[in-house]
């Protein structure tokens, strides 16, 4: 639980102060063992803060919202199959 809290704080700090790839890495790390709703929030925050129209997504700046949602659902799908127990619950 403490590790998750620490990683979540680091995740939000990385959105504001560190290179974007660190945020992506932390989102992935958080998503695999937990139902990390904070990752979804982080994606929305990244797109709101830095987003620019993306022609491939109908000019919507939602790359990170989509990417982190994919991490979230991939984690939820893989967790029972990888026998990873969500320790935060």
């Amino acid at each position: 639980m403490i590790l998750r809290l620490f990683l979540s704080l680091l995740f939000f700090a990385s959105i504001l102060f560190f290179p974007w790839w660190l945020s992506v890495f932390l989102a992935l790390v958080l998503s695999i063992p937990h139902d990390a709703y904070e990752v979804l929030l982080g994606g929305v925050l990244m797109d709101a803060l830095y987003g620019a129209p993306v022609p491939a997504l109908f000019d919507l700046p939602i790359i990170f919202t989509l990417l982190f949602a994919a991490f979230f659902f991939a984690g939820a799908y893989l967790r029972p199959r990888l026998r990873i127990r969500d320790k935060s619950v």
Partner: protein, 215 residues
Amino acid sequence: MPFERGGSFVRSGLWNVFGPFRLKSSLQKENEMLRRSLAAQSLELLSHRNTVRENDELKAMLGRSVGKQTVVAAVLAKPPVSPYDTLLIDAGEKQGVSLGNDVRVSTFRIGRVEAVFPHEAKVVLLSAPGETTTVFLGEARVQATAVGRGGGNFETEVPRDVALAVGDPVLLPGIEHAMLGAIDEIQVRPTDSLQKVLFRLPVNFFQLDLVEVVL
């Protein structure tokens, strides 16, 4: 061959003894050459500044003053913290910034204001992926549409018959003839009817601290 070995030993010994001095003299020569080159460049820059001033004065005499009001803004977030090739700057609506304002560094236009908040604004760089900009290429001012590729890089395609060379200027349309960069690479295959022109902004976004917003 003990003699050969001995000769080699003596040569390497001499190299070790005198090597640093030789290196020092070559460094001195290089230093001198760089100083001369810098002096020449400084003169050229001075001449360029005079030409720019004269150009502005002539335009003003003809009733086309290009002096525009600008506001300086500090960069709050930039790549690689910002993943979209965007900047967050500390000037917003209260400082007179409005949507679509041009943003520049020195004489180089680098982006436009995409969103405005009371005290901040979001700037999309011209090199943001998918962003298109009309440019004039080379001395012949061939019009083309440059597409942003991220990280200050652009790509455009023109017919292969158009004579372009690496180092040719890339200009933006307008009376200021603002420069966007210089051609870095030209890719053309014998089977293609078009040539791909690659260039980049001469501004390092990773070290950017201040920008000017043209109001």
